[in-house]
Symmetry: C2
Subunit: 438 residues, 2 copies
Amino acid sequence: MPTDPASALPQAAARFADATRAAMPVARELFETIGAATGDGVGMAREPYSENEQKASDLLEAKARELCLELSTDAFGNLYMTLPGADRSAPGWITGSHIDSVPSGGNFDGLAGVVAGLTAVAALRAAGIVPATDITVMGVRAEEASAWYAGAHGGHIGSRSALGILPPAELDSAINTRSGRPLRAHMADAGFSPERVALGHGTLDLSRYRGWLELHIEQGPVLERLGLPVGVVTAIRGSARARSCRCTGAYTHSGAVPHEYRSDAVLATVELVHLIEQEATRVRASGGDLTCTVGKLFTDAELHSITKVPGQVDFCLEYRSQERSVLDHMADFARGQATRIAAERRVAFELGSFSPQDPATMDPGFRAALNQGAAALGIPAMDIPSGAGHDAQDFVHAGLPAAMIFVRNANGSHNAKEAMDYADFERGTRLLAWMMAQ
Amino acid sequence: MPTDPASALPQAAARFADATRAAMPVARELFETIGAATGDGVGMAREPYSENEQKASDLLEAKARELCLELSTDAFGNLYMTLPGADRSAPGWITGSHIDSVPSGGNFDGLAGVVAGLTAVAALRAAGIVPATDITVMGVRAEEASAWYAGAHGGHIGSRSALGILPPAELDSAINTRSGRPLRAHMADAGFSPERVALGHGTLDLSRYRGWLELHIEQGPVLERLGLPVGVVTAIRGSARARSCRCTGAYTHSGAVPHEYRSDAVLATVELVHLIEQEATRVRASGGDLTCTVGKLFTDAELHSITKVPGQVDFCLEYRSQERSVLDHMADFARGQATRIAAERRVAFELGSFSPQDPATMDPGFRAALNQGAAALGIPAMDIPSGAGHDAQDFVHAGLPAAMIFVRNANGSHNAKEAMDYADFERGTRLLAWMMAQ
């Protein structure tokens, strides 16, 4: 484990480095036992409210018991493991991430945050450091529900249930793609209480917490490309998604019909997408945060032909940004250009709604503290946005300040090839322990 | 039939108008009897070498017999119906078009050219006009073979067989999509001689002809939009077709991966198509003849997602032009831009071959004569390119000068809604008769 030599660091920093390194066997054991117990042959398969998710939760709980933490679960299966702080009446930290995974997923997406919480707590306890306030490690259920449930729902079931911000209708509109049964049935089968969702106030009393801290592997390549082990998340990007856009033109003979009489759906859509990309580039060049993706774009396989002017194109459009104003601007831009192009090119565009989801800005004070901590601990770090969604956004939307630590990871996430180095995990966990000790 | 009043025209023109109008019952009867005998419930179904194609040929032959024309057929089923001219030893005109249709096609695409030839001949005979040279009306087989036969072949079987320019391999590589059997078997079943194709010299002695004249409905909307009954074809556009282009990028997370690390196959393809369209517009603005069509363009339905950067796009690209140099320029342009974009955007393009097909330029002398004739006969006409292929191109490629007359037609072709007005047909036929009388 070739990390920063403790001897080169100031004494306080060295103490945290020694402590987390000493606690790393806790992490290794958890990753290994949970990974071995919850695979599907290709990767991990910790389906929400499944036996595998329960096995993972049980192994975490057993380790917490070994560490003499205070244990509880809530009506939705979320697991809470608390290390008492010096002032038990003061609001404490709540840290963690989700236990579940996508099908054939990696072992680290989600689980790393729960294991980091337990490892940090183990490190503090072993080093005899009593944190200023309580530290609760939360193992969240069903964050990856979107990978297992079709129908209308927003994923992140465990955290939104606990926070009282899950619309009850989602329990019935989220349909398991394998069983065909609603989320409500699976949650009840697993022994939990979907009917509690209807009460609307959740199970977490936010006044008892200072903030949510979440360690997670980076799901993109930025830290790896830049050679940095740790990122301090600036915000979780919000999104604006037009899921079912259509351009309707007219099928005609590709040789016999001059361009001025055509209604070419491909050329019209190509102009729109090209202009959107140029505008997105302009927004980024002037300092805006934005990704812009047309993940699907297709002519009609039944009707298209090399010798026909294409009469229809279906496509989707996704923007992500840390700034709601950027999302709104880009949605307006697409609508405006579509209207102009439709008139000029004799086609019709239906873009539908952009279903905006607000960004979740990380707490500036927490971010500053994490950057100071990284510097003090000798851990190279950078600010980084989160393009993917996380439980942290639900805490922010529910009103609790939050921060996230990203750990370098190769090969992306949501696949069995996730590759997080334990040395990087130790660095991220050390920063988390340092933050929660304050 | 509200055509140009004969009284307003010079005497010679009036004579042609009276003669073709008087012969129009021949046209009406042929369209009606052949249409009634060869439908498929939706439209026409005169499949090459089928019973329906034979029925149509038989009805044409019967009418030619009534008109006392000299009759013959060749080894490939093509029908020849000759009106003797004043100088029987001089090379004569050969006129006509194809008898067959696409499935559920219209009654006029092809047939109108054969009927126009017979009507023109009937008009000359009835008016007592003896043409300078022989006029042979040809009913061509199997021009629409591409609509009925898959596999490697170039369509236009009847004309290319007769001209000796059909590669024998096509008889076996063209496979009937309904029977699964090769063209050779269907041609033989119909009583004709596929083995004659291998001789390579065809059945037509081109030294016996002055040129090929073909009347055909316009398959685009130009004459209709511009309010003109007749067009004089400048050239049959050649084509350059890249049938199976692919852009390969890399699938990644649409939120977590910054644009500078993406290999986005949609945005790369969009840039390429947009630049090709701009270049095509520039070529047309500077006087070049060009259509440019991307009839198919699609991400992979198995792998694409609104939250994934798209890793693959398949598309096709078709250029058509009266000028081979324009086709070559546009193919080069696409290759050059694809290479540049691939490097800049971290993707790979495979465009494949553009399989160029040469344009067929109509004879300048014939075109000038037709324009003079239209003016003399009081028929509003314009020069027009042919975007679709016709038997005329095969005569040109075999070395015989050719010309084409387009007749105004609504609703395009290759569908049951073709809509040619008999008054327009009479005008086109009058021009044809005038030309062949010279």
